[in-house]
């Protein structure tokens, strides 16, 4: 059985655990601790190691879904999990103080994975904060990283259909990049 690892990344409180719970076909393994940093994200618990879920794709393929902690002090977990991953869904809360900065920081933090595999940006809370728009996020990526192809789509982490769409978009992006990659680099 082929297995693929996909990361869910993004700042603390953006909805990574919720997104994995939305689509996982197994009970999600969570590593949540009491959150003492309520100024950064006002929620009772926070992920300190990983979230883990799975979905089957057909009979012979399994996608392992890993959520990484949002806080930078856990960046060692980003590196450990990124090594095994083929791609990443970067969630960005559009109602945050500076969502473009969160977007660009997430790309910088996982650039090696993005270059090796692929990424999709899932914009959440667009209903509460319609600006910057999807196009403005796309333009910010193009300005900061010319030539880098990262689709940006609206995602409600609570909506399984939204999260599945982001996942399918990511898989299509990775497959397309593989198809166009020079033979010797595959």
């Amino acid at each position: 059985m082929a297995e693929h690892v996909i990361l869910f990344a993004g700042p603390m409180g953006v909805g990574k655990t919720t997104a994995i719970r939305s689509i996982s076909e197994i009970g999600v393994v969570s590593t949540e601790a009491d959150n003492t940093d309520r100024e950064t994200a006002d929620k009772p618990t926070t992920t300190v190691a990983l979230d883990y879920g799975e979905i089957a794709v057909g009979e012979d393929e399994k996608v392992r879904l890993y959520g990484v902690p949002g806080q930078r002090r856990f960046s060692f977990m980003w590196r450990i999990l990124a090594e095994r991953a083929i791609g990443m869904i970067l969630l960005v809360d559009n109602s945050a103080a500076d969502p473009i900065a969160d977007l660009l920081a997430g790309i910088d933090d996982f650039r090696e994975l993005i270059d090796r595999g692929g990424a999709v940006v899932g914009l959440s809370r667009l209903d509460a904060a319609p600006r910057p728009t999807v196009l403005e996020h796309t333009a910010a990526i193009a300005a900061a990283h010319p030539g880098l192809m990262i689709p940006v789509i609206p995602v409600d982490p609570r909506a399984a259909g939204d999260v599945r769409l982001a996942l399918m978009t990511l898989i299509a992006t990775i497959e397309m990049r593989d198809a166009f990659r020079p033979e010797e680099a595959r």
Binding site: A33, D34, D37, A49, F74
Partner: protein, 132 residues
Amino acid sequence: MIPAHRDPVVIDEARAALRELRARSRSLTLATLLTDDGFEIASEPDGHAADGRLPSMASSIQALADAVAREVAIGSGEFVIIASSRGHVIQRRVPGRPIVLAALFADDETLGSALAATRLITERLAAVAPTR
């Protein structure tokens, strides 16, 4: 409620507990008390918790160990041991508190005595640290 890593009373108690651990275990190399979500409360020697990386890593390891214990339904985890050729790390939760002790011992400390010392310290700290 003040988080444990910003509560001067808890920080003082944590420092005293770590000093006691040092007095009991001459091979103690480094010890830190941390919140469940990876913030350093106190360390021994003071300020040597490797730029906050040890508390963060200890927090992740503790959460993973707790997740495994949950998954295989063996109750709550009591302690975690990382044994290597030149020493061992013992992690132990302060009973009933969102606080974890991570202690690095050189290899001349027997595992038994290190476990006993960390148990004594965490139980003592449980009496004075805030509950969840």
